[in-house]
Symmetry: C2
Subunit: 356 residues, 2 copies
């Protein structure tokens, strides 16, 4: 098994305090509320439940569970839907096992201490990078991953290389306006999704289902009047560059730092998923839940997600100031004046593991 | 699944600081060094490895792993011994999976962050009480539990009941001198070991091996000149009663508080294990490693193990003082003047899961 420490994987903010992911992930929770009916329908109509597919055991894994608060209702919904399906058959309802996966530095202690008390499933935590193998072969009946697959194994090397046409240092530009930068990110995203699917194909049983929930962006929007999940990255980078100009952090570092994340268009995502020989796309829906977040809400949400990475890169003494600067930038942007300007979409995809 | 919060299970001290279990469990580490050769021999001679017993997968669980520092070398030794056995056969060496189990409040974050970097096994953490079911049926090939089974699900109710002949309140006496108290504890220990074995019998494959390492005590020793692991309980209770007399904690609480742990004689343990229909005893060894602990070492060791429980019961403001009192009591006892006065033994038992 590879050494997890070799790769820079960053957990969401742990604990349950005011800066925690637990307290600042209501958006991700709403995403599930929108996607729940889709997942339930697909389990009812597509899940294969003959005794060939399980031996008294139904295993579900959440890849990217964080501290669990958004994972528990998802696991509950899946287990109840599976149970209804079995109850309508002449088969015995299997025991349910849930594997909670996230990076090694994730706060699993908080997850364990907040497990629903009367849950109807056994649990295990599986730490590690979900782009690699984590579970035994043919052991998984349902794979779930929400708001996680847009994290990359690393920012593409080309965007931090000043000799590359995809060099993204120095000037602060919206990345989608730079085709080379965007292509380098999309390429890395494609490779990472492929690694994820290749690993899951080994772990899943034939006929098993996978539900992916991801943030998506339209191919274009007007940054003066509208925003998406992608839009937050540039004012945050701009805050870091401002601080570098004031000598508060290393300029070279602020220029070569790029977030290891990519938010695809639904078309880009579908084109990547269609390349898989192991999975077929059963359904894809594009939802527009709207963020409903104020500027303060955006900053808190982004801080819960990015703080550990920024601390690792620049030290924790710059964190408060960076997010204060971000807040000022958002406050002065007409795009963030109204949550209805949000153009982010949520892509829900249901895949089925093929007979290979 | 039952609500874990209903039962008072207490984790060892977490983290890696000066009071942590990680820093204060060298005794438990030495126990493994003594037991390692026995486990390796039994794997070599008794483990059944036909393809009937595994499908490319070898699963090991450590029941009571704490923060992992003593678990990792044990898991490594078992996996290497299994690997050697497969390499001497014409079978393909299976993938290894290790399930780390401890109570829900255990510090699994520290365990994950200290996983050996180049380990040759995949990992999962399974939180919960090992007296109940934790893993899927017939999924486990090797069960290991070191220095954990002497923890009880609860102190026997009779010893905290002032109307019972087993009432253990008020006066501070060495429990082995009170037959009723001792019998109540032994009865609870027997029930708890039975629950442990019943759960493991479902989880283990036929022919799977189990290694149990437990502290043991001789049937009698001279408390003036000698000590065992049991002996530490009474001066600690006595410290609590001293503090109650000074009004530092509630007298009634100090009188009804009993530790949920029992250290059996080897004969008591064997008689309980022999009752199991699911397991046969393949080997039992009684080792005398000696503690080699100074008084400070004893206090640190005991604090790492008992602090969470005492904090829960009496509040954290009494902890430092309680352990200072314990230290004074041990310093003034001739029994603790020399580590060679230690009469604690280590019982190593190898069980095999029967065809049922």
């Amino acid at each position: 098994m590879k050494n997890e420490d070799e790769q820079p994987h960053f957990a969401m903010n742990g604990g349950d305090g005011p800066l925690s992911y637990l307290q600042n992930s209501s958006y991700q929770r709403r995403v599930l509320e929108f996607a729940k009916a889709i997942i339930e329908e697909e389990i009812e109509t597509k899940l294969e439940i003959s005794s060939k597919h399980n031996h008294g055991l139904f295993c579900i894994a959440d890849f990217g569970c964080s501290t669990g608060n958004n994972s528990f209702p998802a696991m509950h919904a899946i287990i109840e839907a599976v149970k209804r399906k079995y109850e309508c058959s002449d088969l015995k309802t299997p025991e349910s096992y849930v594997y909670f996966n996230d990076v090694v530095s994730n706060d699993f202690n908080t997850l364990f201490s907040s497990l629903p008390p009367f849950r109807r499933y056994a649990v295990a935590a599986v730490p590690g990078d979900f782009h690699g193998r984590l579970l035994p072969p043919s052991s998984l009946h349902f794979a779930y991953s929400s708001w996680s697959l847009h994290w990359l194994t690393e920012a593409p090397k080309a965007v931090a290389d000043s000799g590359s046409p995809a060099w993204n240092g120095g000037e602060i530009v919206y990345t989608r306006e730079r085709k080379e930068v965007c292509d380098a990110y999309l390429d890395q995203f494609g490779k990472d999704v492929e690694s994820f699917l290749t690993s899951r194909a080994v772990e899943m049983v034939e006929g098993g289902l996978m539900a992916l929930l991801l943030p998506g962006a339209p191919a274009a929007w007007d940054p003066e009047k509208e925003y998406t999940m992608v839009s937050l990255v540039e004012p945050l980078r701009s805050s870091l560059v401002n601080m570098a100009l004031q000598g508060r952090l290393c300029k070279a570092k602020s220029e070569t730092f790029n977030f290891p994340g990519y938010i695809p268009t639904p078309e880009e995502l579908i084109s990547i998923l269609q390349k898989s020989n192991s999975f077929s796309i059963e359904r894809m829906e594009i939802l527009k839940p709207g963020t409903l977040l104020t500027v303060d809400g955006h900053v808190a949400f982004f801080r819960a997600v990015k703080q550990n990475m920024l601390t690792h890169e620049f030290g924790d003494e710059i964190i408060d100031e960076t997010f204060n600067l971000l807040k000022k930038k958002l406050q002065s942007s007409p795009a963030y004046a109204n949550p209805s300007n949000d153009r982010t979409v949520v892509v829900v995809v249901i895949l089925k593991c093929n007979d290979v």
